[in-house]
Symmetry: C2
Subunit: 560 residues, 2 copies
């Protein structure tokens, strides 16, 4: 096969990016090659992206995959319209062997070529960021700007980060080595050795509804860049962004002279549950999953032939002890609770506040004052419907709405959720967060704050003291897991104490955020997403452990 994307061309285009990514994961300073501003993509990009999105609606997205035994689809945008796109439904008995066929050539290409091809895939996705933004928006319910940033450049960053880790890990061992062992007065023993990174097999990515690209790319690119074939089983309500991703990957692989079947999509009929079937196939050696604890646990316990990387439910806590920027704290928290209607695995849920109140730069504030002031901050942030729509997006599914409505019955409502009208998408269900008061001293309240209530629901939990808050934080992380922990304090001792809890229980901590960085946001190349050390996730995005076991090193030694 004559490759259009030759190695010299790929090297010229992408080796500098790879080198910068390698440096960034080492320094962990700020870096990204993927612009966040929609305007950075050229004057016609917004219109082109929208047109491309509209053109794909109502079509059959034929990816040219072997083993396509039918078509599945049926996504309906959380903003209202049906997408009406059909995707390939697969016969694993045909598709999986076809996916394996190209693996030897992909393995033999080596880590650098795999990295460069992966970056080309990301670059082509990047060029279509506006189109992807619409796809993410109309599957996740994220408002456009968030879908653009989180589903576009930030997801591409996480994919590139995984590529960089994969490359670094595979090249820790040289391709060859001469080994000469002295034997005293006798001749030394000499061996020539070669070392080859070999893949595990076929990797299965099980996508999620809320962040199909952001949560899907790390596993997809970590597996692909380490030589594995990748089958993407998208969430039935969020297929389009990953189908487009697979389409681009197949196109780039073919142009680079590799088998496009190294990456394939599996869509499913409603209620079919093919993830279970695929996860137990002997060909599947790696699984990446984001979603419910129930299915994550099932995968970990049943897919024994595979390495299983899971991100599951957790309960995120913010400890409110004291602050020297009360207004900054309130506005920062209000934004964190509101963004994407709290439908992020990183959104804070439990705000632990001493019942006697806290010290602030505006004087002492009682528990009730803090809660009321936070409620006011949220109301102000979301008071304007246009701004509210731009921040909240739409509820991703009816389950979120049910939980939101049930939450009002769990305690005293400090801030009621309000319905926001969306003139552009009248069918979108747009709701502001509910803030409910609970009390750690009341045993009946524990059921609420000790489980994840995914969606725009926050609990202001009264605690006896900051020490009490730290005990509860520790128990929450240990028993329920947490993707994020936040804390506000002006006390160095309290700061050390909360750090200690997070080190003991493996939780990622944000301290005293009062500006434009929020506890629920992490930046690739610098911040870890999850720790992999508490029940919320068994892996972190992205570190050495996330990539190191996706390949093995085979040594061939010869007498020299």
């Amino acid at each position: 096969m004559a490759a259009e994307l030759t190695v010299p061309l790929l090297t010229e285009k992408h080796r500098p990016t790879l080198d910068q990514a390698l440096e960034a994961i080492r320094s962990r300073a700020y870096w990204s090659p993927h612009p966040e501003h929609p305007k950075a993509y050229g004057e016609t990009a917004p219109a082109d992206g929208l047109a491309a999105h509209e053109a794909v609606r109502g079509t059959r997205l034929d990816l040219g995959q072997p083993g396509t035994d039918g078509w599945a689809g049926g996504e309906v945008s959380p903003f209202g319209p049906a997408l009406a796109v059909e995707y390939p439904h697969v016969d694993p008995d045909v598709l999986l062997p076809a996916m394996k066929a190209g693996m030897a050539a992909w393995r033999d290409a080596g880590p650098e070529v795999r990295a460069l091809v992966s970056i080309e895939i990301l670059a082509r996705i990047g060029a279509r960021t506006h189109e992807f933004a619409h796809a993410v928006m109309h599957t996740s319910g994220q408002a456009f700007m968030m879908a653009f940033q989180a589903g576009g450049p930030h997801a591409q960053d996480r994919g590139l980060e995984a590529v960089a880790y994969a490359y670094a890990e595979q090249t820790r061992v040289p391709g060859q080595a001469d080994w000469s062992k002295p034997q005293g007065k006798k001749d030394p023993l000499n061996l020539g050795k070669t070392f080859t990174a070999v893949p595990r097999g076929i990797a299965l990515v099980i996508g999620c509804n809320t962040f199909p690209t952001w949560n899907g790319y790390p596993g997809l690119f970590a597996s692909l860049a380490t030589g594995n074939a990748v089958l993407v089983k998208a969430h039935p309500r969020a297929v389009l962004p990953l189908a487009l991703t697979v389409q681009v990957a197949r196109e780039v692989l073919a142009e680079a002279g590799f088998d496009p079947n190294l990456v394939a999509l599996a869509a499913e009929q409603p209620g079919e549950g093919i993830a279970k079937t695929l996860a137990l196939r002997p060909e599947i050696k790696i699984i990446d999953y984001t979603g419910s604890t129930e299915f994550g646990d099932w995968l970990e316990q049943n897919a024994r032939q595979a390495l299983v990387y899971t991100e599951k439910a957790g309960v995120n806590t913010v400890v409110v002890d004291s602050t020297d920027d009360y207004r900054g704290m309130l506005s920062n928290l209000a934004f964190s609770l509101s963004l994407y209607s709290g439908q992020m695995c990183t959104t804070p849920q439990n705000l632990l506040i001493p019942r006697d109140g806290i010290a602030t730069d505006g004087g002492h504030k009682t528990f009730d004052e803090v809660v009321a002031d936070l409620a006011t901050s949220v109301e102000k942030l979301l008071g304007d419907d246009a701004r509210a729509n731009a921040l909240l997006g739409a509820l991703v599914n009816p389950g979120v709405k049910e939980r939101l409505e049930a939450a009002a019955g769990l305690g005293e409502v400090a801030l009621a959720s309000r319905t926001v009208a969306n003139p552009e998408f009248p069918d979108a269900v747009v709701r502001t967060p509910v803030l409910v008061k609970l009390d750690a001293a009341k045993p009946d309240d524990a059921a609420a704050y000790m489980s994840e209530c995914f969606g725009p629901v926050a609990f202001a939990v009264a605690v006896d003291s900051t020490a009490d808050a730290l005990d509860l934080l520790r128990r929450t992380v240990r028993d329920k897991g947490a993707m994020t922990v936040g804390a506000y304090t002006t006390s160095p001792d309290t700061e050390r104490a909360v750090e200690q809890v997070c080190l003991d229980e493996s939780a990622q901590l944000s301290l005293n955020l009062t500006g434009g960085v929020y506890v629920n946001q992490t930046a690739a190349f610098s911040d870890f997403h999850g720790s992999g050390g508490n029940p919320a996730a068994n892996a972190a995005l992205c570190d050495g452990a996330f990539v190191a076991n996706r390949f093995r090193v085979v040594e061939v030694r010869r007498q020299a």
Copy 2:
């Protein structure tokens, strides 16, 4: 606690060693700081080591551990004498919490101090290598020189290699980073970040009978150097070498100002099976195991709260296609089959030889000639009883003898096993290998060559062709696993074909070994022991994946 082993002292003593080890795992050239020659340890070392070994016999080895609720022991040397050493039997409800108590300080010490303390432990073990050699000899049944080398410097090498990997992995992320994200005309977003490697919890090392130190040290030091406490559950027939190891570790930890309970020993009463109990304790977060597939599988399926690293049974193959050094091949194979009576997880078992014979520098050799010549080579190698004893050691347990005797009934015996008298240890059971002819074309023979027959048993399996041999090799590795594969060929095409099988099935390959390097030996810092990619082991010694998940990184970020 006033530390006698200060950080400056440890740095001066061991940082150069750590740096050399880091360079060695990168270049994979030959390197070892641990001398192989008994004479390198000083003139009085042999007598001192023997005296120390004799002094410990018949004593109670009180390690000063909390939660000691009794004493267990009862090892009998495969060379005859009872060791009569008693070791602490533990109450996990007391010991495990005590082991956790020192973990925060050990974590806070950081990766470099943990590496230096680990190297000090290895250095003190190294200084007592003669004593350890006797301990390994009289538990494993290895002859003295092998016990000295494999149980001493080679095991210390593997421990140091794990320390180097652990250090490298933990320091891939900086301790701190400044992060500044441009915001166009607005002020940048600034965060200060710290990154801390945090341990998983308590690691359990489940030791094996044949290589208590060599197979025990990688997991022990990988876990310790990544901040975990380590509980060593020795094999009931091979406690002494690991008990001495724990003793040294506790002594060094205390002198360096850390809690000695970070490392502890668990001995057991005969038939007690405490490994199962310990493996399921919630405090145990990491398990390293070498032994039977049955128990390895049990651990993987049941110890779900822990990361489980297992080395299990496998079937090692040598493909004999052709050679330009027939005598070299025969003597190399004869040595590999004989060393430690084939009781190595890396010893070849199945020699696949075309039934029409092979081309050699001595002309064409029929299948029967090759087998007969190999038998003669083994007979010559082991013809002298003194030399035979020095190579073979003793059978480690009665099960090996039973398998050896049963093997003679599996096919035509090309070389019968003979009993070698050991004048120094008359009770030792010393047996030369049996070589049995099988035929891949006879379905009844498959049961023999498709399962591990651990001990001095080799099968010369007639195959239709080299292509047939490669098919059988592929099936064997895929279905049964292999720690090693060997091949002899003068054909570049055959060489590529066997390489291809090993890359496809993740097996470590040695080609055309005819000199002083044997397929069953691997050198730390350069060779991988196992691949972690076939059923014989789920991890390789030692690579990034072996250490990367033993710790997690916790980030604390603060608004700057």
